[in-house]
Symmetry: C2
Subunit: 429 residues, 2 copies
């Protein structure tokens, strides 16, 4: 946390009243909304942790407006956070739009001074996490998220970019340190030590929290992941790719909120998705009214999770085969039939290494959602603390093993099998 | 290579005449030289590949002046190279001076527009490579270079820096792409493919060059190293740390020419030193008048090489133990006796991983000096092509095995033993 609240000349946090006047001065937005200022409805709806979010509707259409505050919304002025995160979000969103088109909301307007983005209003989309808690099916999601990850990660990596363009991206995102620090602290550090911000289902999980803080192998493993997060600039990450950063309908998927974007290890993004599916998988025992009621959905969650990795891997490989324009693995070294076979074997080995990273980062993301500051509503919405703790104990048990014994998880199928096994074996917290 | 020669307003390549007038306008330099302009002797002495170097002497003292040219000096205007390399050299030199004090030349003056650095004249220092070719002993070198590497690498890594300061350094060096590209092309790519700039002792090594270009395992291994060079921003590297970047006497060591500096994988710097010792070790068979004449020096070279790694490892570990101020491996996770033991074991494991990188990067540096554009005088000065080729064949044989079978080299002793074995077994090219 930085010490003081940022003061930026010209920056004013918006209210519905000021925002109407502001938006009416932007022709593109005015014509999208239709009518005049007085006909617009504006509601502040931000339910995230950091920012203001407004939904604006006019006679003709609507827009969403996201504005950064100079502090963490959830905590208030006691936790300052720089306005520059809107700059990085806008930059990442623009790059993601270029690479994936309709998988992110369209940007209608960006105001650097106000740290404010006017974007497409996504209707009737809901936050994916909410849909998954009520066992909603999203038949297109595996296809869409695997495309999003494959394209954003591949095309910003050394496999697709020349070194100078890659280094320019690294420099462009290097200033997003405050947001990266949130990840570094809350995911890779605090859950493994006594920290004021930690919280967990207590007293049920007290002994888990205590054991996690004393677990040398686990702390070494998470520290290696943190080091990779700090020093491996593999590709442009979304940086916060959980199911709360997805708005969707069964037909349409959009990835939102890339303010944590920076150039980091690919497995962090892929692992975030896998982790959220595993958390959701374990959460249904706390939501079903009759045991077994959600058996089918549970299996669907695991099936989707497996599809996501399998599709991601295949799409990433296809992009690599078709667009080997980067400075890494220059095609000139792998000519002829033998060369092609050698390179293809190395591509597979590359994906195996990325898989190992994915398993480790997924585990880190799971643990932080149970022992750290920010929890998932998948688990938080289980009212009965004992039932919740039982689900959370399964999350912790699987995650610890994935992080410490990563090589025991050579495939996504192995992860799915282990999830089923842990659910069967861990009866309570 | 960029397409055109850079034009910078105010930039003029210096000649002895213009330089005298320029230096007389800098009080600190004028007083260091003593007397007046007319009493100064100025000689252009650059024997490197890239820049102008002047030695300036006055009645009282001397200075060295290094100026970047907008092209590669060795090649001429056909190979443009940006003047900004002087900016990166100055930045790295300043940082190295802060961290190692007397192990780099003092900077007297820096002119960004002229891409010119006025620095301490090192007398009677010579380029280390020249000394080693004539079997000169440097009893302080292992101590000094291990200190230089341990301090510059440790204190610019995530082990010593907070993430925001580390990322600021990454951004500061991200623009040095043209110099990085030289490394990427000439070290990690060209020696393994048909490339106009390659050269080797021909026809003696023609079959080696051909085999190297067809060697799938080797090309995969070097491509993995290249990927690490492109994406692992572990610490500020010198970037060109061979024995030609060292000026010394038996009593005093200075590391010069950090214009290739950037934030990269530590093993690249350490490997460069190891590689140059191995090349020198193999070269003496081409220099001795009577076989066996240099047996003692040869062993001294291997002993020094072993000391360098052993001292580096111990110093790096000591710095880590004493200054754990970085965001990686936060000390708060490793409290108490158990925590301390766990962290110490992980420190050792970290050094083992760095050692693996070192072996691979050393091998890449060895191969490029035999099959690529830039050769070492250790080998080039062997006039008899057959004798030279025999030495070079040993360099290639050891390097290939180090790169492909890195785990067969668990220690620096294993490398030294293998060098002796290859020298005994590989009788000719």
């Amino acid at each position: 946390m930085s010490a003081t609240i940022e003061i930026r000349e010209g920056y004013v946090p918006q209210s519905p009243a000021t925002l109407a006047a502001y938006l009416s001065g932007i022709p593109a937005v005015r014509s999208r909304l239709g009518g005049t200022e007085s006909q617009w409805s504006i509601a502040e709806v931000g339910d995230g942790n950091l920012n203001l979010v407004f939904i604006v509707k006019g006679p003709k259409g609507g827009v969403a407006v996201k504005q950064a505050l100079p502090y963490v919304r959830l905590v208030g002025e006691a936790w300052p956070l720089p306005l520059s995160r809107a700059h990085y979000e806008h930059m990442a969103l623009s790059e993601q739009a270029r690479l994936t088109g309709r998988l992110v909301p369209a940007i209608h307007h960006y105001d650097e001074k106000l740290a404010l983005i006017v974007m497409e209003l996504l209707e009737p989309h809901i936050i994916m996490r909410r849909g998954m808690i009520t066992a909603t099916l999203y038949p297109k999601f595996a296809e869409d998220i695997s495309t999003f990850m494959a394209r954003t990660l591949y095309f910003t990596s050394d496999l697709a970019l020349t070194a100078d363009r890659k280094k320019a991206m690294i420099a462009a995102f290097a200033g997003n340190t405050a947001l990266c620090k949130i990840t570094e602290d809350l995911i890779f550090t605090d859950p493994y030590r006594i920290a004021e911000l930690n919280r967990w289902t207590s007293p049920q999980l007290d002994s888990y929290a205590a054991r996690w803080r004393e677990d040398g192998a686990l702390k070494v493993a998470v520290s290696r992941l943190k080091l990779k997060f700090l020093s491996s600039a593999e590709a442009m990450l979304h940086g916060d790719l959980h199911t709360g950063s997805v708005m969707l309908t069964p037909e349409d998927t959009r990835i939102i909120d890339p303010e944590f974007a920076f150039m980091g290890p690919m497995g962090f993004d892929v692992g975030a998705v896998i982790a959220n599916f595993l958390i959701n998988y374990f959460s249904h025992d706390g939501h079903e009214d009759v045991p077994g009621e959600r058996d089918a959905y549970r299996e669907t969650v695991l099936t989707m999770m497996q599809q996501i990795w399998i599709l991601f891997r295949e799409k990433f490989l296809d992009l690599w085969r078709g667009n080997p324009a980067g400075d890494a693995y220059p095609i000139s070294l792998f000519q002829g039939e033998d060369g092609a076979a050698t390179l293809e074997a190395e591509r597979q080995a590359y994906m195996d290494r990325l898989w190992d990273d994915t398993v480790g980062f997924a585990a880190a993301k799971m643990i932080r959602r149970v022992l750290g500051l920010a929890h998932n509503i998948d688990l938080e919405w289980i009212k009965d603390a004992d039932r919740r703790a039982a689900c959370e104990a399964r999350v912790l048990t699987l995650a610890r093993d994935m992080m410490v014994n990563t090589t025991d998880y050579p495939s996504i199928t192995a992860v799915a099998d282990a999830a089923r096994r842990v659910r069967a074996e861990v009866k309570s917290y």
